[in-house]
Amino acid sequence: MTAITAARAPVATPAPAAPTVPAISLEGVSKTFRSGRETVTAVGKLDLTIEAGEFFSLLGPSGCGKTTTMRMIAGFEDATSGVVRLDGKDVTSVAPNHRDVNMVFQSYALFPHLTVADNVAFGLKRKRVPAAEVKQRVADMLELVELAGHAKRKPGQLSGGQQQRVALARALVNRPRALLLDEPLAALDLKLRQAMQLELKRIQREVGITFVYVTHDQGEALTMSDRIAVMNGGYVAQLGTPAEIYERPASRFVAEFIGTSNLLPGTVTDASSEGSTVRLGCGADLRIGETLDAGEAVDVTVRPEKIRIGTAEPDPASSRVPGTVADAVYLGSATHYTVRLADGTEIVVFRQNADDVTADAIAAPGSPVWLSWHPTHSYVLPENSGPTDATQGSHHRA
């Protein structure tokens, strides 16, 4: 391809790659509900771009505006301000039945008076797809969700998991530009939920449709997503890949919402262009890669599984603090320690019970231990970012 272009137009500067149009983009979208004299701002000012073929999750605690955001994409809520685009086209004031997206409702919302096959065929019939093709596509879709034998049943005769898959099939069969799923697995029990997570991911890969997935379950979002928008109070607190969000939470809110984080309060004692030194409450000094202001009070964060625990004094080049084991919980494959530092701060440490871990002398509560980690694993968390300061990477302060 490039070779041909080069041969035809040897002089021209290489043509810029055609900008791919995002499947969905929200530009300054907000939603305020008015009930009587009170107003509730469900969604602040959202700017989101969701690429075609992406598995994109909206993750956040209950009431943070995830459903409202999704309903604005589907067309069930009118945005108070801003523009909603599907494939670059402004659909802000287009009715839901004229938007090329489909939704999977948390309550499934299957039509109880129609058979499974008629439920799945509903969208195709509205588009006046020829009957023979409808039949074929419905059959193929029921095959995909492994419900081929249940076509003639009514939704009331199916289990929760099966109903969930009918809801998925009913939306997917229309081959929408994007599929919107609002906590689709929340009503299922744990085992089934985990199986369905993998199943959904498989189906998404097979059909290649953009998925926008709403969940309040951080594990689910980390497992399935290509990218995650962590939402809080109607705003995006952080946007990134699961690894970025887990490894480098942009704010205290994200650090605490996703996984377990240790927060160590301290004061910056020394700062240069190479990094800074933070003196913790317990008296230990930590080297931090970021450039900070001397004298500033900060929170240093480090994930529990990044920390090594041992009795031998660690290499002074690593980040290290001494402490006392306060509690140890043996979980089979891992042991979770709670270690108390000199100033009373408690640090949680997860250690895999790998083959190098022998019968534990340090496990006993009360025994003195050293905690250490690679300096890159700890960094300073900015304060909770507000509405205007919600971009990823805001922790890199100038």
């Binding site: 069930f76 839901p96 409702f105 499934y108 919302a109 039509f111 109880p112 509205r126």
Partner: protein
């Protein structure tokens, strides 16, 4: 408890003598059922009474001849025809208006909703005598001649609230997400109503319509005010009581009752089938 165990261990049969208790619940149920059904049983029985005189009040023997002569009284047949026509039209008109009203009241908030609810409730609570008298003066004032149309207007007026309340109760329990799902799948507002809302409401609409039919066909009080020269089935019977009610009345009553039971049973079966199949 321990007594029984002891008895079992020592082998002495402890004869369990349950005291004969009166099951009040059962007694109550049967009393109420009897109360409801004995008059109907009498009505049916006396449609088979082989009377010779004018009065159908004492049992004189079994016959089915009245069924053969059911339509021998031309004016009674005419009255029955009026009643059936009015009841059917009431069912259709009040069924339609009441369903739409119930849908609006159950689904939407609008200016005057509270007033509408109040008026509906008032229409149900108001004594029929008062309603009838008021309707008569209203019709006279508006120049509506008493008769068939006046009866129909009056019946629609007092049955529409019952339909609306029946349908509203169903609408309230309807999941609005179902309609959203239909919209999401490309159905416009009308298609959504036709394919989703209406089928889900159908049992309630049918129940409301049947209720309107039943209320209309046996209404006496309101009808008597606005009927003018027109005679309906209840009006005819009332007029006939002074000279003796012919057994044909019992025959027609029995037939209407049988038809009513049949319709009610069909409605229940349909509703139950839908419920058992259709719970999401």
């Amino acid at each position: 408890m321990s007594v029984i165990v002891e008895g079992a261990v020592t082998g002495t049969p402890a004869p369990p003598r349950p005291r004969r208790r009166i099951d009040w619940g059962k007694l109550f149920t049967w009393t109420v059922l009897g109360w409801l059904f004995v008059p109907i049983v009498f009505m049916i029985a006396f449609s088979f009474n082989d009377i010779s005189g004018r009065h159908n009040v004492t049992w004189q023997g079994f016959t089915v001849k009245w069924y053969g002569q059911a339509f021998d009284h031309a004016d009674l047949t005419q009255a029955l025809f009026h009643s059936l026509a009015i009841a059917l039209l009431t069912m259709v008109i009040a069924g339609t208006i009441g369903s739409l009203l119930g849908l609006a009241l159950g689904r939407h908030t609008f200016r005057g909703k509270g007033t509408t609810n109040l008026v509906m409730f008032a229409a149900i609570c108001a004594p029929e005598v008062v309603l009838g008298a008021a309707l008569l003066s209203l019709f006279l004032l508006m120049g509506v001649t008493t008769g068939f149309v006046a009866i129909l207007l009056a019946h629609v007026m007092f049955t529409v609230s019952f339909v609306a309340i029946t349908v509203r109760a169903r609408v309230i329990t309807l999941d609005p997400k179902l309609e959203e799902a239909a919209r999401d799948l490309g159905a416009g507002p009308w298609t959504t109503f036709r394919l989703v809302t209406f089928p889900m409401l159908l049992p309630a609409i049918m129940a409301g319509g049947l209720l309107a039919f039943a209320l209309s066909i046996d209404d006496y009080i309101i009808t008597s005010f606005v009927a003018g020269e027109v005679t309906t089935f209840p009006l005819w019977i009332w007029g006939a009581t002074r000279v003796g009610i012919p057994p044909q009345v019992n025959v027609m009553g029995t037939l209407i009752f049988a038809a009513g039971v049949l319709l009610a049973v069909i409605n229940v079966i349909l509703a139950r089938r839908q419920a058992s199949r259709g719970r999401p």
